[in-house]
Every structure is written in C-alpha cells, then in structure tokens.
C-alpha cells in the first residue's frame, strides 16, 4: 500500500509539474497584447513600456517559465495585471464559490442518481425501469446551460422563488444555500443520469452473482440484500467515477458561473482570457488542475479502500 501510495503521489507530482510548465508558456501561446488591454486606449508609450518591464513579459521565455515555476512552488502566483492584487488572494476568493458549486452538484448527483439506479435495477425491463432509463438518458443529454436557463425561467421568473444571480455571502449560510440550489441543480443533472445508469448496470451484475443468490436462499429480506450486500459492491464503480465527475463539474462550472453570475474560478478564468490577464489565468487553470488531480487521487485511493479485492490482487502479484 505504501509503495502504491508513493508511486501514485509521484505521478501526481509529475502531472502538476507538467501543468506548471504548460502554464509558464501560456502567455506566448495566446495572441494579443496584455498591456494594451489593461491600460486602455489613452495610455502613453512610456506607461506601456513601464508596465511591460514590471510584468517581465519581454524576458526570454525560459527565464519567465523558470521564475514562474520557482515562485509558484513557494506559493506566489504573481499579481493581477489589472488591479495589482496578489493572485493567491483572488483565487482564495473565487475557489470557495466553485468548490461549493461542484460539491453541491456532486452531492445532488449522488443523492438522486444512486436511488434512481437502484430503483431501475430492482425490476429490470419493467415499465419503471424503462421510465427511469429514458429519464436518465435525457438528463445526460441536456446540456447544463440549457437546464440552467430552464430553471431560471421556471423558478425566479415564473414562480418568483429562489434568487437568480449572484452567490450571497458565506456569513449568511441559508441565503448562500438558496443561491446555490439552481446552479448546482443545473450542473448536477447530467451526472444524476450518469450515476443512475452506472448504478443500475453494476447493480444488475451484482444481483446476479453467487453471494446474493446465497443470501436469497437464506431467506433474507430483499431490502436487506439490496442495501446491506448488493449496493456496497455495486457502488464501487460510481465512487471511482466521482473523481472524474468532480473534475467535469469544475469544468462545467464555467457556463453555470457565467449564467448565474457567480464569481468563481470559471468566470475568473474566462474574464482573464479576454483581458489577457495571464497571472490570473495561470492561477485559475492551476487551481482547477490541482483540484482535478487531487479529486482523482482521492477517488483512486478510496476505491482501493472500499474494495479489498484490489488490495488482495496487489499483494499476490
């Protein structure tokens, strides 16, 4: 286990290093001059030169890459070109909103998707199964931004309940939660469908296995069989996919944050791209990448923790 952990961490480290290297050269991959964008049309030549020097964008690429990685390793991601605030401060403000959104969506997807899947699996090919499968597939295929607009029309505009835009503040958790409902529902909907399909498939597989048949032969109640014995194994693939889901939700958050005007990572990155605000852009991408990598790491490890067979297999090799 320790060896595996070490190997896995080493790989994570390598991935992070690659990301940093990529980010270091990003300013040179995107056309457009950041200085002009920041200073606006009335800036003088002297001011432009001054800012260019301050930002160091005229240094050789390798020098820039080296200094970026070195300071990033020390937790310094530079300063926002436009407002001169430290990027880490900006990230610290944006990350909680995105995390809240991603985790709320993941929670919602799991909370609704798994029961849906079990429901469908208890009576394969029944009308109920067909119904849930049609529902799941349509959930999977509806893009989150379409769902977002639909929810906005339905709740804040027609029914006049739930706030439409913004996030509220963390100091008023109930209000924050109310702001979170629609965006997380819109974002979760695809994954509700995924989890439902996934759980249904693995549930059917497990229910057909020997140990469940034995359990039935012992006369255990079906509910106990499903929940105490079958689901435990059937849910493992879903756990594995949660890491991917979380990463995907972080990516999908861009649209949702735009539509609901939430000042999270996605919106930050998007604004930074159009302003050519490279320090902020790098910071935002780095953050999303790190969250993705960590989520996958945790999913991988928990997978092994939940499924003893994987540990056993490893020992035997």
């Amino acid at each position: 286990m320790a060896q595996y952990l070490l190997k896995r961490l080493g790989m994570t480290f390598a991935v992070v290093l690659l990301i940093l290297l990529f980010l270091a050269v990003v300013p040179h991959l995107i056309p457009g001059d950041p200085v002009e964008n920041i200073l606006g049309p009335r800036a003088t030549e002297a001011r432009i030169t001054q800012v260019r020097v301050e930002m160091g964008i005229d240094d050789p690429v390798l020098v820039q890459a080296g200094s970026f990685i070195w300071s990033a390793a020390q937790g310094d991601l530079g300063r926002d070109f436009a407002t001169n605030r430290p990027v880490t401060t900006i990230l610290a403000q944006a990350v909680p909103h995105t995390m809240a959104l991603a985790f709320a969506s993941l929670g919602l997807a799991v909370l609704l998707g798994i029961p849906f899947g079990v429901l469908a699996a208890t009576k394969p090919d029944s009308l109920l199964d067909r119904f849930t499968s049609v529902l799941s597939v349509s959930f999977i295929t509806v893009p989150s931004y379409v769902m977002a607009l639909f929810l906005l029309l339905l709740f804040p505009i027609w029914l006049g309940v739930l706030p439409a835009t913004g996030t509220g503040s963390f100091s008023d958790p109930l209000n924050y939660l109310r702001h979170l409902i629609l965006p997380s529902a819109a974002l979760a909907i695809t994954w509700v469908g995924y989890f439902a399909r996934l759980v249904r498939a693995s549930m059917l597989e497990v229910v057909g296995s020997n140990y469940i048949r034995v359990a039935r032969a012992y006369g255990l109640r079906e509910r106990v069989i499903h929940y105490r014995y079958a689901l435990k194994n059937a849910v493992i693939p879903s756990v594995a996919i949660m890491g991917v889901a979380l990463g995907n939700l972080l990516g999908g958050a861009v649209f949702i944050e735009l539509i609901f005007n939430r000042p999270g990572l996605g919106k930050l990155a998007l604004d930074a791209i159009s302003a050519r605000n490279f320090p902020v852009l790098r910071g935002a991408i780095l953050m999303v990448a790190l969250l993705f990598v960590v989520a996958n790491l945790v999913a991988d490890l928990s997978y092994r923790f939940l499924d003893p067979r994987i540990r056993v297999e490893e020992k035997s090799t």
Binding site: E36, G40, P115, V118, L152, I157, T165, E222, L258, I259
Partner: protein
C-alpha cells in the same frame, strides 16, 4: 422470486420515495425562506404586477440601489480609469470643479468651484473653491493645492506613482498656480477648446486628495478618496462594488437636485447578457443595460421601462488604405456603395440604434455633418467603380471582426452584399486582444469596430490622425489637411468655427472613402417602472446613480 417482488415494492416506496420527497421538501423550505426575507420596510411599494412576474419588487429596498455593470472595475484613479464602469462609480465618489447638469441639458454647473472663469484670450482659468469641503476618510479640507496636484498629475507634469492616461486632455496645460487656500489659476500655453467641454467636466478634471494619493500610492485606484456625496465602501471583485452615503458632504450637487435617498449604491458586474436580463427581470438589480434583442420583451412588460439613450459612440466598417487592393479609392467606393447599412442595423442591433452617415453623431453639440451623403445600396454604381479600378473579374478580401454585439451580423451582410459585385469576402472573427493586434498591422483589409466617445468631436477625430497609424488608426490613413484641421480645431475657441472645421474633416473622410459608417450606439437602460433614473449623456452616455429615485 414471487415473494420478493412484494417486499421490493414496499422498499421502493419507502426508500426511493423518501429521498426524493426529502430533497423536494428541502428545496421548498429554502425557497420559502426567501419570501420572508425582504421584511425591512420596502413592502410599501405597489404590489400590482407581483402576479405576472416576481419583479421588480421582489428584493427591493428603498435605501439600497443595485445597478448592473457589464465589466468589473479596474481602478478608480482618474489617471487610469480605462473602462466606463469605473466612470459611473467614480461619478459618485469623485468630483471636479464643474460638472454637466444631470438630465442632458448640456449646461455646466459649479461643483467644487464657487466661481470659475475662462479668460477672454482662452489662456487662463481663474477659480475660487467652495470652502469647507471635506475629503472622505478624514483626509482634511480641499484646498487649491489639491487642485494643482490633481490636474498637473493628470497632465503628466508631475511624475506620479501611476502614469496618466488622460494627459492629452490637458495637452496645453502649463501649470496650475495657487494664489490662496481656495483660489488659483489654470494657465495654458495655448488655448484649448475642449477644456470646458471635456477636460474640466470629464475624467481629467476630477480632483483627488493629495495626501490620500501620496499615502495610498497604487492602492488609491481601489480605495479612492474624493469629495463626492458617496464614499468608497467595499469591492468584492466580480461580485459587487459598493459606495455608501458620505454624511459630511458639502452639498454642492444638492443645490441642483434633491438629496438622494440611497444609503448604499451597489454595482453588480454581470458580463453575460442573458444573466443580466434575468437579474433585471427578477429584481436582483434595479437598473442595467440590456441587449438589443431583449428590448421588445421588456417593453411589452408594464413592470419595466426601457430608456434608450443615444450616445456619441460610433461603429463603422473601415478600410485599410495601405492594403494593395484597397489603396485604390475606387475599390473603396465600390464597397461603400454595395453595402446595405440599413439591413445591418436591423440584423445587428434589432433596429435599436441610429444609422450613422459620418463620424460625429447628431447628438454632439458641435461637429455633426448634417448634409453627409447617405449611401444606399447601388450595385450598378458599385460595379462601375470596380470596373474603373480594373477588378471587373472580382477579387478576394478579408474582414476582421471582434465579438462585440452586432459584429457578426454586420460582417455576414457585408459578405452577401459584396458577393453581388464579385467580391469574395472572408470573415475572421477574433477576440478582443487578437483583433487589436491584427487591426494595427498594415496587412489587414476590412474591419468592423465601434469606438466610445465623449461630448467633443476632437475625441473622435483624434483616432484618424497620422500619428495614430499603427495604433488606433486602423485605416492606416494619413491625410495632411485632416491632420492640420484636427490640430487647429483644438486651439480654436469659437464653437461655430470649430463646427465648420469638423464638418470639413468629415468631408475629407468621405472623399477618401475610408469607411462605411454604420451606427451610433444607443445605451438601453432598463429598470423597474417604479424607478426614475438620471442621465448624463455628455459623460460617455452615463447616468448619475445617486440621483435615481424610487
């Protein structure tokens, strides 16, 4: 198996039903909480219309005003202020000696100046300050030294911690002489026509606290200290910009308008148009600009008012005269004659903007060319021009556009129009930064763009100067007579003479066929019908937030 089905059913109804019901209940509870929330005194507003939509009184409050802005601010330092959001916020916090009277009369009113007078030779301005004006945050009383500091800093005479962006608005400033605590004289090398039109009532005329700037340095832009009726409160980037009532306000503006009712004014940056529509519709914000496509919907709803404000901003299809093909004026004339501008206005802006036939809009106090030719699509004439240029067999051109509203529709119509005279137009959609880089380059051919503008035509003609070639003069056009007129018009103080000069400049542009003018922008301010807004078109088509009433 038969036995188990029954239990399954029971389990299903219990478990599945319970979770779903729980989620549903949680949603309803949270939703319901919202209805109790706005309890503090705003229920007095009329409650008709709550049935149709929850707006606009769902979250309203008579002491807090919330306004949508398109972009977040970057800096409120008058030396920087690159976007118009900054300007709208700055107008509540910072003041100048004079200001345009809200409401669009074009009259100047004294704000920090008790008296102000331009000398007959146009070379000096004597001013006497209002006494007892206190800067926000305990930075003391306003004196003539602050005026000197602010203007010379903006003019770039004194070296500041941030370089100035508005130096050209003070192009001929020699110095500001302080003659007493409250008196001083602005001295110019040469007369400067935009001084009382654009410089003093605009960004370049805003007065900051010398002590505050020296103490705060670069941070001044995000914690500005001025004398306005509202003071800087907080800024949550991407979320809100908040100013709050300043109790020690000297009161100059309130001699011209009633005292404001708002304790706080909040700007909410919402970049996405759809999100903005929803925020306005649900009352998340009280006022904001909407996209042209949403006008009909809001106008049809009795709960909302759409207030179109014609601005001085202009959009045009420009032609790079240094391009090999486009260097022939007949090719440019052919293009101008082939374009169907009226259709572009309908397709690009839902017919919500005014058609432009020249650079300076009719709203501008001087400089509008009333008799400018209106080019209607005339394909035969266009073909004749092309033939004259020797391109009767057709040619290929490229047009660059950015992602501004309407750009794409305009380009597509141009593409269809030009195809009819045998020009194969390729459209390149570039994002803001890249667009600018390509446009500055002498290799591009056609482009569509719109520029913002303020109340003096010099702010528009400047971008067509020779020294702007390779910078903002995307036409790469340099005309000596035009250039000379631009410089002369800056120091000419007779408005009628200036008017004629600007008209002549537009005639030159027309003769050289460097552009097909498309539109003058209209700002579509939209708000709940219980709100009254206050506009200052002379300042980039902005509004005076604290003068709104509910």
């Amino acid at each position: 198996m038969t036995v188990t089905t029954k239990t399954t059913t029971r389990w299903r109804s219990r478990f599945g039903g319970r979770t779903l019901a729980l989620a549903a209940v949680a949603m309803l509870v949270l939703a319901a909480c919202g209805d109790e929330e706005p309890a503090d005194g705003e229920q007095a507003t009329d409650d008709e219309g709550t049935e149709e939509t929850a707006a606009p009184d769902a979250d309203t409050d008579d002491t807090e005003l919330r306004i949508r802005t398109v972009m977040d601010i970057t800096s409120l330092d008058p030396n920087v202020m690159p976007s118009t959001t900054d300007d709208a916020v700055a107008m509540t916090v910072l003041e100048g000696l004079v200001a345009y009277e809200p409401g669009g009369s074009g009259e100047l009113i004294n704000v920090l100046a008790e008296q102000i007078e331009l000398s007959d030779d146009g070379l000096s301005v004597d001013f006497t300050l209002r006494e007892g004006v206190q800067f926000h945050g305990g930075y003391g009383e306003l004196t003539a030294e602050d005026v000197k500091f602010s203007f010379e800093r903006t003019a770039g005479i004194t070296e500041g911690e941030v370089e100035t962006s508005y130096a050209s608005d003070w192009a001929t400033l020699e110095e500001v002489e302080v003659t007493g605590d409250y008196t001083g004289t602005i001295r110019l090398n040469e007369p400067f026509a935009p001084l009382m039109i654009n410089t003093l009532p605009g960004n370049a005329g805003l007065i900051v606290s010398q002590d505050a700037v020296e103490e705060l340095g670069e941070d001044f832009g995000t914690s500005p200290i001025g004398t306005g009726p509202y003071q800087w409160s907080e800024w949550n980037p991407g979320q809100e910009i908040v100013v709050e009532r300043y109790d020690d306000y000297h009161g100059a503006m309130f001699e011209h308008l009633d005292e404001p009712q708002w304790e706080r004014i909040v700007w909410v940056p919402i970049e996405d148009d759809t999100a903005a529509d929803i925020a306005i519709e649900t009352g998340d914000v009280d006022m904001g600009q909407i996209s042209t496509g949403s006008v009909d919907r809001f106008e049809a709803d009795d709960n909302f008012v759409v207030d179109p404000l014609a601005t001085f901003d202009y959009g045009w299809i420009g032609m790079n005269v240094q391009d090999e093909v486009l260097s022939d004026v007949n090719v440019r004339r052919a293009i101008r004659q082939a374009l169907d501008i009226d259709s572009m206005i309908v397709a690009g802006f839902d017919g919500q903007v005014a058609r432009a036939n020249a650079l300076v809009s009719p709203e501008m106090p001087i400089g509008h060319w009333e008799d400018a030719p209106v080019y209607e699509q005339d394909l035969d004439q266009a073909r004749a021009y092309l033939e004259e240029a020797g391109y009767e067999d057709g040619l290929d051109l490229t047009m660059i556009i950015d992602d501004q509203t309407g750009s794409q529709e305009i380009a597509e119509i141009a593409q269809a129009n030009l195809a009819e005279i045998g020009i194969d137009l390729q459209i390149d959609l570039l994002d803001g930064g890249e667009y600018r880089e390509v446009a500055r380059d002498a290799n591009q051919q056609l482009f569509y763009i719109s520029f913002s503008n303020t109340a003096d035509p010099s702010w528009a003609t400047v971008w067509f100067n020779c020294e702007q070639v390779g910078d903002w003069n995307y036409q790469h056009w340099c005309n000596e007579e035009f250039q000379q007129l631009h410089e002369d018009a800056l120091v000419e103080t007779d408005p009628d003479a200036r008017h004629d000069m600007y008209v002549r400049m537009q005639e030159i542009m027309d003769e050289d066929a460097i552009a097909a003018w498309v539109m003058y922008r209209t700002n579509l301010y939209t708000y709940g019908s219980d709100l009254q807004i206050s506009l200052v078109p002379e300042r980039y088509g902005k509004y005076l937030a604290y003068d709104f009433r509910r």
